[in-house]
């Protein structure tokens, strides 16, 4: 595989030219570009079919609609990049939303209701992280267990009561500074922050090392156990941030676990180019993927595709994306 470039002892590589810049951009961010392309194509095709699809209002709906999934997928991407997985994130968001809402209606200041899910999310996932990193239980096993605990706990505690009467100031997702819904600001800012952190911090870079070659990472002096635990905590904190977007969108909070949320989040991360085997991927891709899902959902309504076929269309699109990605990687070799 590597030999193609090698001509004896030391390869000669010309300095990066302008044409090379785009090529490099494409090899580096290929998956992100593919997804962005798919979003743009969808917007153009459906937009020409029904111009209202491209109305500012609908674009706001599309980009804000899955913002909480995009934010949750950021943390999930980090977990997957380090070679783990978390299937309990949907249940976690359900629990955190209930906690946040309960605090908000109990008369505590709203900042506490915003802070609580982030802190508690990190704390709950610290337990997951410890079990995965130090007790060395496979993450899929730990998080399957955590999912049952959180689901069961939520139902027995709340009994399914709705939370209403939330203070107006709590509803941060309903703000629209400069006509753009607040979740979009959150999504963009958090994605850029995370992407920046993963590119420019030593810790962020080490995630790729841990997922790519754990043994070598250990030899390099990376404290794998501690960082694995911290990654799960960061993921929990992002789940908390996602919860804020999720819980403040409506004037009521449904204290149940959103159906299939974990699957949507994992799918967004994976389609976004995060290798499920660890070691590669960026959070920009997962955010694009979350937006793509929202775009598809909206497009299906606008094109009058019977909703009966919605899941089949999404499944086909996922498959096409993955196959295209595989082909691309193959051609690169």
């Amino acid at each position: 595989m590597m030999v193609a470039e090698d001509n004896g002892s030391f390869g000669r590589r010309s300095a990066t030219s302008r044409a090379g810049f785009f090529k490099k951009l494409y090899t580096e961010y290929g998956q992100e570009i593919v997804i962005l392309g798919a979003i743009i194509v969808l917007l153009i095709v459906v937009g020409s079919y029904n111009p209202r699809f491209l109305s500012v209002r609908n674009l706001n709906t599309i980009f804000a609609g899955n913002a909480y999934i995009a934010v949750a997928a950021i943390g999930m991407s980090m977990v997957i990049i380090t070679g783990h997985i978390d299937v309990s994130v949907g249940a976690l968001i359900g629990v955190l939303a209930t906690i946040s809402g309960t605090i908000a209606v109990s008369g505590y200041p709203v900042w506490l209701a915003w802070l609580a899910p982030v802190v508690i999310g990190a704390a709950i996932n610290m337990v997951v992280g410890i079990l995965v990193a130090y007790a060395r239980i496979p993450s899929i096993v730990v998080t399957l267990g955590m999912m049952s605990i959180l689901r069961g706990g939520l139902i027995s505690v709340t009994g399914g009561d709705w939370i209403s009467g939330l203070p107006k100031s709590f509803m941060i997702s309903q703000l629209k500074p400069f006509g753009v819904p607040a979740p979009i600001y959150f999504m963009v800012a958090l994605t850029l922050l995370a992407a920046f952190w993963m590119r420019y911090s030593a810790f962020g870079r080490s995630l790729y090392a841990m997922g790519g070659n754990a043994e070598a990472a250990r030899a390099t002096g990376i404290p794998i156990e501690r960082r694995t635990m911290i990654v799960f905590m960061i993921h929990g904190a992002f789940a908390g941030l996602a919860t804020i977007l999720f819980a403040t969108q409506l004037q009521i909070i449904q204290s149940t676990v959103p159906p299939n949320l974990e699957l949507t989040v994992i799918t967004a991360a994976v389609i976004g180019g995060v290798s499920i085997l660890g070691g590669t991927g960026t959070v920009i891709g997962s955010t694009f993927a979350a937006i793509l899902f929202a775009t598809i959902g909206s497009a299906l309504i606008f094109t009058n595709v019977s909703a009966y076929w919605l899941r089949a269309v999404i499944g086909t699109l996922i498959l096409v994306t993955v196959l295209v990605d595989v082909m691309r990687r193959r051609n690169k070799r």
Binding site: G37, A38, V41, L42, V45, Y49, N50, R52, F53, S55, R57, N58, T61, G65, N66, Y68, R151, G152, L154, I155, T158, G159, G160, D161, W162, S164, G165, Q174, F246, Q249, L250, Q251, I252, Q254, S255, T256, P258, P259, L261, G297, S298, A299, L300, I301, F302, T303, N304, V305, S306, A307, Y308, W309, L310, V313, T316, L317, V320, V324, M327, R328
Partner: protein, 369 residues
């Protein structure tokens, strides 16, 4: 790169192709026969039907004895079934001769529900109250319960009649349908266009209501335009997004949104509120009062259609008691249900709770569930 483009375009055109094939107006209802009520509300002539429920085998004499009862709703953890459970518990406390436990699947899953019921049959209970996730799928296990001498009464969602003794019908499908469509037409006018947000097309009650609504609308409000029905699971953010997309798609053509579940209706109301369209897009639907209070109080939603689920649970518990005591027998035409008084028997083996209830600004604060 261009290969990707081609693939994407191909899949898009494929999607568009399917779209055109599906253009025919389609509502999301089931394919069972419909029976729309008369437009002016004249009660339909109901032919008396012989009892078609089942009978438990060798049930012991339970007259006056304390009954061990398990209540198995479609799923636990949602407000609606919390309310029915509360009604059941209230009735049990009032009677003092019923030990009730509610236990249901955490997702509306037929298999989980069947397994639960099966387990309770083996563990030995006197009575089972259920709300079926699927009328046919649940039948064998209920028949097994009858065969084990257990009294079986359904509420909210029926099963095949011979697999249970009685079913407490919260409101007839056609009654709900009439109430929803009538309220909607009052708000959006006889020529208004509307869209539906439901949970999934496979949820039987929702599918039944939608079918009845379509039939009633055709019959009594033929000029109203049924735009489309979208699915939103039991997911409030998805419901919100779907409602938003409907608003964006139809713009000013859309006059009303109907929510079919306690999740979809408030989410649709929130979408309308946040779009600043209160008053120009009406929201009507089925929902529990607690979920709708903010929107009704803000005058964004004028009417919410539902029966009272606490009463439903309450009635179901009384029907079970009466059945176990032998005071409700096949052929009876009414049954005594505590504070609800006499309830009438319809369709052979169903007990009707009453007409659907419309919550509005004047009464919604009297309810807490």
């Amino acid at each position: 790169m261009h290969k990707i483009m081609i693939t994407t375009v191909l899949s898009m055109s494929l999607a568009a192709g399917v779209a055109h094939a599906q253009q025919s107006s389609w509502t999301g209802g089931d394919d069972l026969p419909t029976n729309p009520l008369a437009c002016d509300g004249t009660p339909a002539e109901v032919a008396a039907m012989p009892y078609d429920g089942g009978t438990p085998t060798d049930a012991p004499d339970r007259m006056g004895k304390t009954l061990t009862v398990v209540d198995i709703p479609k799923l636990v953890g949602i407000g609606y079934f919390s309310a029915t459970s509360k009604g059941i518990a209230d009735a049990a406390a009032e009677m003092g001769t019923m030990d009730v436990k509610t236990d249901g699947p955490t997702r509306a899953n037929i298999d989980d529900q069947i397994t639960l019921i099966d387990n309770y049959i083996t563990s030995g209970v006197d009575g089972i109250l259920y709300a079926a996730n699927d009328p046919v799928a649940i039948a064998p296990v209920l028949k097994k319960a009858l065969a084990a001498g257990i009294n079986v009464v359904g509420y909210d969602a029926n099963s095949e009649p011979d697999s249970r003794q009685w079913f407490v019908n919260q409101a007839q499908f056609n009654g709900i349908a009439k109430s929803v469509i009538d309220n909607l037409s009052d708000e959006i006018g006889e020529d208004g266009a509307f869209a539906i947000v439901t949970s999934t097309f496979t949820t039987p009650n929702q599918a039944r209501w939608i079918a009845e609504m379509a039939a009633y609308q055709q019959k009594c409000h033929p000029d109203m335009e049924w735009l489309e029905t979208v699915e939103a699971q039991e997911d409030n953010i998805l419901s919100f997004n779907q409602a938003n997309t409907l608003i964006n798609k139809y713009g000013p053509d859309l006059k009303g949104i109907v929510g079919m579940t306690s999740v979809a209706t408030p989410a649709a109301a929130d979408a309308v509120t946040q779009a600043g369209l209160c008053g120009s897009v009406a929201v009507v639907g089925l929902a529990t009062p607690n979920a709708m209070k903010p929107y009704v109080e803000a005058d964004c939603v004028k009417s919410v259609v539902l029966w009272n689920p606490v009463d439903l649970g309450y009635a179901a518990a009384y029907v079970l008691r009466a059945t176990a005591d032998g005071t409700l027998k096949p052929g009876d035409t009414s049954v005594e249900a505590g504070k609800l008084g006499e309830l009438s028997v319809i369709n052979g083996s169903e007990v009707l709770l009453g007409a659907p209830f419309v919550y509005n600004k004047s009464n919604i604060n009297n309810f807490d569930f």
